[in-house]
Amino acid sequence: MSYHIIVVVREVWDTRDLVGEPLGLDGVLKPLPRRFDPEDLNSLEQALQIKDREGGSVTVLSVGQPGEVDVLRECLYRGADEAFRVTTDEDLDTGARAALLAAAIRRIGAHDLVLLGVSVPEGENSLLAGELAGRLGHAQLTYVDSLTELVPGQVTCRREIEMGSEFVRLPLPAVLALGVYLLKDDPRTPRAAKAMLKLKLKKAPIPEWSAAELGLAGEPRRMRLAGLTALPQRNVETHDVDAGSEAALAALLRDIR
């Protein structure tokens, strides 16, 4: 049995090495390097392993132009079959992003699984996965450690919980947000890029869809920051009280009351 899997991949700030001087010589905050969202990479690996084992296809999808890392191309170098980019000039919030992705996933067509990481920049809250499942009408599960069984129409996932593991069965198609804790030489460790694919696919065109092409008219609905106000500064008055004087202490207590 073969499965068609869509993996949503993102580029994120690399926040691992925040030790050291945050300001450059010019006094400006040094930009953080960027990297492939590690949990998305884990999700891609799960998808590729299913494909290696069961056959089928892996399609990868991302929103926005690449910054430092072309995550879609990195997926192709690792063996993904197809990649699509949804173009947008805007810095979208999760809801708007999910709307674009859901439309693109419908465009891609029939699929069994949509995988993505629990996502570091969302505080590992898997907001995108939830929104996406809601829009697609799929079942969804977050904090998935691994897929323990995949049969036609049904997937069983393991989640690590306190004192043990929880196994959850879902109907397909489903949206799964993976959060994988990798051990040394873990078989779920993401594979490296393949040298030949890298040479071959360096300039392979990646189809792009705009919101309009996906049938989403007008400006995306999204939350905006309407303004900021600071808390008013509190005025704190200090009094010196003679600790040896009963009368002064009594007066202080009276004032406080």
């Binding site: 040394k184 490296a192 040298a195 040479l199 360096k202």
Partner: protein, 566 residues
Amino acid sequence: MVTSENFYQDNPDLRFVMEQMVDWAAIFAMRGDTGHAEAPFDSVEEAREANLDMLSDPIGTIAAQRIAPRAEDVDRLGCRLENGQVIFSEPLQRNLDDLREAQLTGLTMDPAYGGIGFSKTFYSAAVELVSRADASLMNFFGLQGIADTIQQFASDEIKNEILPDMASGLLSGAMVLTEADAGSDLSAVRTRSLLEAEENPDGDWTLTGSKRFITNGCGDVLLVLARSEDPAKYGGGRGLSFFLVTRGERVQIRRIEEKLGIHGSPTCEIYFDKAPARLIGRRGHGLTRYTAWLMAAARLGVAAQSVGISEAALREAEAYANDREQFGKKIAELPAVAVMLAEMRVATEASRALLYATSTFVDLQEGAEKLGLNVEEKKYGRAADLLTPMVKYYTSELCNMVTSTAIQVHGGNGFMKDYPVERLFRDARITNIYEGTSQIQVDWAVVRLVRGELTAILEPYAGRVWEDIELAELAERLHDSRPLLDQATACLKQRGPEYRDLMARRVVDMALDHYVGWLLLAQAEKWRYKRKVVRRFLADALPRLRMNHEIVMGDRTLDLERLVEA
């Protein structure tokens, strides 16, 4: 252990050499990677970027994230022999799987056979990166020269049969040369190869005899040097041919060696019991042509392995010295330790400079040969022939010095298995022995030095104007050392072969101190930090060169070199 995400990205010196010193444009042009309609790349920039990108990922990432963390286990577990089968340890098998899955098993092989077809310069860097992670793994990764040899000399039938599976990593190989009584002197090889049907000149051959010290002798494709001609008619090296033997029941692994280092690499003793064999190339050319070709590639590989080990040891020592406190301060701040660290760093960077200068000449020569440019082929071939033994000798000896010093920096801790420098020191020890000992390399090099083949290599520096006053001053000192080198070389020529052999090492050392000085000076032109490196290098190299000059030119009698009581 010092950990890293990417062994290419975290190495400023390797990146500097790759990005600024290597003349990629010349290499690509000569190899035909760019500049014509069917070239694999549209521009030099594109080809260069593809090369450097590949070094970073997957090679740099796999070396750092997968191979290096397993090195300690690979060393501890070694390989086993059970019922004639060599069993790899689990971490070693994982390393091999990782290399194969990342498609890194056919880096230099022709794309027509499924390889990537990259240059030797690129390959040297790949070997350096892998060896920094685990020196023993290089003995698998570095065997790509075997496929190159088949590609270069075997028939189309053999090539089509074997090479695609070697490129994909399905088949591994071994070069099967050494015998119990034929080590450095391969012309003494006795393994017999007989034509089964003497009347049929194209018939099948069989091999009978023992080979030992065969790295990865359990491989699937064995390139065997064997005696095919009647010793009475063609004695010594002229009677040897090259054969291809595939693994089968007539190829028996009798034992694997217990070794000081590179435990992840099985060293096998093989018995060929009338094993079916196929001739590669022409009869009688086994040693002079094919082994020489294979050896040259292997020597460059060992040089790259040595640089990788030095890099690993240097990093361990620097990290330790910046962490360990004695006498109320970090030991790196103590002059006695600081000087050791500086020596290690200079040695590693000098080794690297020579490695890539040599690799470039090898690429230019191979490219010129393919294009049929006779003049260029001769010119670059002479340079490659001289520099290959020199770089193997230089980098492997320095690698031994660097790993030993790394233990010294660690003090008592370095002697213990708790720190990786102990393993690095053991692994380093083979580099100046296999693929020809240092003495053999010196022997090869000195003959070519006496023939004056360094002159052309030094040509670009002879009349060069250095605009920077600091560099000009250093260049002046290097220029001043040239007559000493020339005098010593002339002296060897004049005093005859025995004197030459006794003094060979000193003159090769002089040539190395002089030439590497120029390489580092050229680096200093492009990176300010390198001024310190070249100054530090010359501070030792020039007095050493003068010392060697004085000894070579002196009137010492030959007896002084042999302190055996009469």
